[in-house]
Symmetry: C2
Subunit: 544 residues, 2 copies
C-alpha cells in the first residue's frame, strides 16, 4: 500500500521550472555569453555568435513568411557552407524539421526523399541544380519552394530557385521571434539512411535527444571553450553527429569548407589552428598522408573523432606520428551519431603501440548521456557473457535514440521490438566491458558451416603495416558454400603480393578464415565513408 506522497502535492510543473530541452537554447545562450567570439569562418566570411544568432533568427522569420509551420519539413542540398550550419537552428526555430539530404544521391533517391518527407522548402546549392531538377521531374505532387544558396567564392553561379538565401535573410525581420518547441519530444531532424536494398528509411530525431547528444559530445571529448572545429564531417551525415549544436554549447569556432581536398584541409588546420575534427577513416587517412609531407609545420595539438570502421594500426601509427590524437566512436543515424566511445583508460598509455591500437580500435562503452548499450542475444534478450567470444546484437536504450522511422510503422516496430533499439550490428563484449563489433548479420561469411566474421579477418589484414584499407566479403564457392575474399588498398610504396598477404593471414588467424583470394584495387565507399560491401559482393557474383 502506498503512503501519501507530499512531494507531488502542490508541486506541479510551471513555466519557471520546466522548459523543453532543445539545442536552440544553446544558440540563444551563445549569442550573449560568447557574443563577440568567432562562431563561423568560411573562406573570407566570418561571423560572431551574435551574428550567427541573428542570421538564424532571420532564416526562421523568412521561413515563416514562406508559410512554413510546426511539423513541416525543410530540406537542404548543401555542402558544409554557412547556410547548412544556420539551417540546423533556423529551421527548428519555427518548429519545422531539417532534412539534410546527402548531396551525392541521384535524382531518383532525392525524388523519393522529397516526396516521402513532404518537403515544403528546399535550400539548394547551384552545384546541384541539375540533379534536383531531374528529381523534381519525377515528383507527382507540387515541388517544394526552392531557395538558392549562392556562393560568391565559387564564381559565376546560375539562379533557378524562387528565392535567394542572402537576399531572404537581408529582407527578413530580425524581431519576429522564434520559439522553443511546444514539446521536447517534437521532431528536430529527419535523416534518410542509405539502405542497400529497398527505399531509404527516414530516421526522426527529437529536440530532447539532440540536446543531450550535443552535450554528450562535449563530455566525451572534454571540449573546452576555445575549440576550433573543422567541418570535415558532412553536416548532412546524421546532422554532423550533433556537432552543429555542440559548438553552440561551448561557443567554439566552426570552420566550414565546401569539399574535402586534403591540401586545403591541411592548410585550414594550419591557418585557423584547428583543434578538433571528425570523420570516417578515409578522411583521417587523407589528412595523415598530407601531413606526413609537411612534418613539423603543425605546432599545436589536434584531436580527431573517427567512426564508420575501426582505425587500422597503420593509420593510428601515422596519426600519432603526425601529432593527431584519434578517439574511436560508434553509432548510427538512429542514435544521433556517436553512442559509444572507446574511452581511453590511463593504463593503456604504458602498453606497446600495437596493443594500444587494438584496444583503441574497439567500439567501447556507453556514450556519456546515452542510457545503455548492450550486447544481447537477439531472441532471449539476455546479455552475452563478457568473454570476447560469444556474439550478440548491439542494442541501445535511452534518450538518444530516434523517435522511429517516418511513415513506416512496420520498420519502427521491428527496430524497437523487445524494448530495445536493435542496431543490426553484431558484437562481442570483452572482459573489461568494452564492446567489439563483429559484423552486420549480412556481412557474416558462412564457409563449410562455420561462421567467419569479416571484421575479424579485416583486422588481421589491417595490422599489416603495408595495408591502407581492407574489406573482406563472401565469394560463392562450389565446395564450401562461401569463402572469404579480400579487397585491399596498399600503402603507396608497397610491393606486397597476394601470396604474401594470404600467408600473413594464415600465420595470424585460423586457416579457414584466411582470404582465399586478394584483389589489390581501390575500394568503393559510400558518400559517408562506409565501405560498400554489397557492391564488392555483387562484383564477385557477376564476374564468376
Amino acid at each position: 500500500m502506498s503512503r501519501r506522497c507530499w512531494f507531488n502535492e502542490d508541486l506541479a510543473k510551471n513555466p519557471a521550472n520546466c522548459v523543453p530541452l532543445s539545442p536552440l537554447s544553446f544558440l540563444k545562450r551563445a549569442s550573449t555569453v560568447y557574443a563577440n567570439r568567432v562562431s563561423l569562418v568560411y573562406n573570407t566570411r566570418q561571423y560572431s555568435w551574435r551574428e550567427t544568432y541573428s542570421r538564424c533568427s532571420r532564416l526562421a522569420s523568412a521561413l515563416t513568411t514562406l508559410g512554413v509551420q510546426r511539423g513541416d519539413t525543410v530540406a537542404t542540398m548543401l555542402p558544409n557552407v554557412p547556410a547548412i550550419y544556420e539551417a540546423h537552428f533556423g529551421i527548428p526555430m519555427v518548429g519545422a524539421v531539417i532534412n539534410a539530404i546527402n548531396i551525392r544521391l541521384d535524382a531518383e533517391a532525392i525524388a523519393f526523399i522529397l516526396s516521402h518527407s513532404h518537403t515544403r522548402v528546399l535550400l539548394v546549392d547551384p552545384e546541384f541544380h541539375g540533379v534536383v531538377k531531374r528529381a523534381f521531374d519525377r515528383l507527382e505532387g507540387p515541388p517544394p519552394i526552392v531557395i538558392d544558396v549562392l556562393d560568391s567564392d565559387v564564381g559565376e553561379q546560375s539562379r533557378w530557385g524562387n528565392h535567394e538565401y542572402e537576399q531572404l535573410l537581408g529582407e527578413a525581420d530580425n524581431n519576429v521571434g522564434w520559439h522553443l518547441p511546444a514539446d521536447e519530444w517534437d521532431a528536430i531532424a529527419l535523416g534518410y539512411t542509405s539502405g542497400t536494398t529497398g527505399n531509404p528509411k527516414g530516421v526522426v530525431s527529437h529536440h530532447r535527444g539532440a540536446y543531450l547528444n550535443a552535450v554528450s559530445n562535449v563530455l566525451s571529448w572534454n571540449l573546452p571553450e576555445n575549440v576550433t572545429y573543422l567541418w570535415t564531417l558532412p553536416m548532412f551525415h546524421c546532422n554532423g553527429w550533433c556537432f552543429p549544436w555542440t559548438m553552440a554549447v561551448i561557443g567554439g569556432t566552426n570552420i566550414c569548407l565546401r569539399r574535402i581536398d586534403p591540401d586545403h584541409v591541411v592548410e585550414l588546420i594550419q591557418r585557423h589552428q584547428v583543434t578538433h575534427y571528425c570523420g570516417a577513416p578515409i578522411v583521417h587517412s587523407m589528412i595523415a598522408e598530407c601531413l606526413e609531407n609537411l612534418l613539423g609545420k603543425i605546432g599545436h595539438k589536434v584531436s580527431g573523432l573517427i567512426a564508420g570502421a575501426a582505425p587500422s594500426a597503420a593509420l593510428l601509427e601515422k596519426m600519432e606520428y603526425t601529432g593527431i590524437e584519434l578517439t574511436h566512436v560508434y553509432g548510427l543515424t538512429e542514435t544521433y551519431g556517436p553512442a559509444t566511445v572507446c574511452l581511453k583508460q590511463p593504463v593503456w598509455s604504458e602498453l606497446p603501440r600495437d596493443r594500444r591500437a587494438e584496444l583503441n580500435g574497439r567500439q567501447g562503452v556507453t556514450y556519456p548521456l546515452e542510457e545503455e548499450v548492450a550486447v544481447l542475444d537477439p531472441v532471449t534478450l539476455q546479455p552475452v557473457p563478457a568473454n570476447g567470444s560469444v556474439i550478440g546484437e548491439v542494442m541501445f536504450k535511452g534518450n538518444i535514440v530516434m523517435k522511429g522511422y517516418l511513415r513506416n510503422p512496420k520498420a519502427t516496430a521491428e527496430a524497437f521490438s523487445g524494448g530495445w533499439f536493435r542496431s543490426g550490428d553484431l558484437a562481442v563484449v570483452q572482459p573489461d566491458g568494452y564492446i567489439k563489433l563483429r559484423d552486420r548479420s549480412k556481412d557474416v561469411i558462412i564457409s563449410g558451416g562455420e561462421n567467419i566474421s569479416s571484421m575479424e579477418v579485416e583486422e588481421v589484414i589491417l595490422r599489416h603495416p603495408d595495408i591502407e584499407l581492407a574489406a573482406v566479403v563472401a565469394a560463392p564457392d562450389a565446395k564450401w558454400g562461401e569463402v572469404p575474399v579480400a579487397f585491399v588498398q596498399l600503402q603507396a610504396d608497397s610491393q606486397l603480393s597476394e601470396a604474401e598477404l594470404i600467408r600473413y593471414c594464415r600465420d595470424n588467424i585460423a586457416h579457414f578464415k584466411a582470404p582465399k583470394r586478394v584483389y589489390f584495387e581501390e575500394i568503393p565507399v559510400t558518400s559517408t565513408g562506409k565501405i560498400q560491401k554489397y557492391s564488392l559482393r555483387q562484383r564477385l557474383s557477376t564476374t564468376r
Copy 2:
C-alpha cells in the same frame, strides 16, 4: 490552420527511446566505465567506482528492508564522510528523497525539519546523538528509525540508533535491484533553507534538475576525467551543489573529510594531488592563508569554485599567488546551487589585476544548462537596461529550478508568480550582459531617502589591501533614518584605523554612501559561510 503532422504519427515514446533523466544513471555507468578507478578516499578507506555502486545498491536494499518506499523522506545528520556521499545515490535508488540536514542546527530546528518532512529514517553520526536526542524529545509523532554511522577513525563512539550503517550494508542483498524514478519529475532531494525569520522552507528538487545541473558543473568548469575533488563544501549544503552526482559523470575521485581544519585541508591537497574544490569565501581564505606559509610545496594546478559572496581583491590576489584559480558562481538552494558563472573572457587576462578582480567578482552569466537568468523589474517583469545602474530582481527560468517548497503552497506560489522564480536578490546588468548582485531587498540601506547598496560599499572596502572580510549594514539614525555602518576583519598585520578606512571610502564612493562608523571585529557567518547581516543589524539596534 494546422496541417497534418506526420512526425507525431506512429512515433510515440517507448522504453527504448525514452528513459527518465536521473543522476542515478551516472553511477551505473561509472560502475562499468570507471570500474577500477578510485571513487572515494576517506582517511585510510578507499573505494573503487564498482565498490561505490555496490555500497549504494546495498544501502538501497537495506532501506527497502526497513520499509522505505517511493516518496518517503530519509534524512542525514552527517559531516562529509563516505555515508553521506553514498546516501545521495542509495536513497533515491528506492525512489525516496534525501534530506541532508545542516549538522550545525539546534534541536528545535532539527525537530521542525524531521516533523515537517515526515522523515522515516535518519542516518546520524554519533557526534550528533545529543542534539538529535533533544530534537526527538520535541517530536509529537513517532521518531524516525535511526541508523548510526560509526566512524572508526574517530575512536570510541557510542551506539544509540536502531541499526549500524556498515552492519546494515554488510547484511544487505546486493542483488535486490534498484530502479530509476518512475518519472524524472519525482523528487530526489529536500533541502531546508536557513531562513532568518520564521520556519525554514523545504526546497524540493527533482531528478531531471539534478541530472542537468550535475552535467552543468562539468561543462562550466570543463572538468576532465581525472579530477580529484576535495569535499570542503558540506554535502548538506544544497546537496554539495550537485557535485556528488557530478563526480559520477566523470568518474573522478572524491576526497572526504570530517571537518575543515586548514592544515588538514592543505595536507590533503598535497597528499592526493587535489585538483578541484568548492566553498564559501571563508574556506578559500583559510586555505590561502595556510598555503602562503607553504609556498612552493604545491606543484600542481588547483581550481576552486567560490560562491556565497564575491571574492575580495585581496583574496583573489592571494589565491593567484598561491597557485589556485578561482571561478565565481552564484545560485540558491532553489536552483540546485550554482545557476550563474562568472565566465572568464579571454581578453580579461591582459587587464591589470584589480580590474580583473572586479570583473571576476560579478555573478556573471547563465549556467550552461540553466535556461535563463534575468534581471527584471519585479512589478512589470520587464528586463532592466544593461547599463550597470538600474536595479532589478534576479529571476530564473528553466529545468534547474526547484519543484517548489514542501507543504507550503503559499510560498511556492509567491516564488513562482509571473512565470519566473524570484530569487529576492537585487542586481544590475552590466553592458557586457554580466549580472552584478546588489543587495537582497532587506539589506538595502535607506539614508535620507537615498537607497544605498550595502554590497557596493562592501566592494569598495574590500578593494583596500588590508581588508579580509567586510559587511555593511544599516544602523538606525535619528537624522537620516538609517546610515551605513561597516564591520571589518583586517589582515593579520594591519594597523588600519577607523578614520583612515572612512577616508578611503569617501575617496572612492559618494560621501553619503561611506560608512559612518567602523567596527574591527570578527564577523559572524552562517554554517554555510554567509555573513549574518541580520545579527549585525540586531546588535546595532540593541547596543544603541
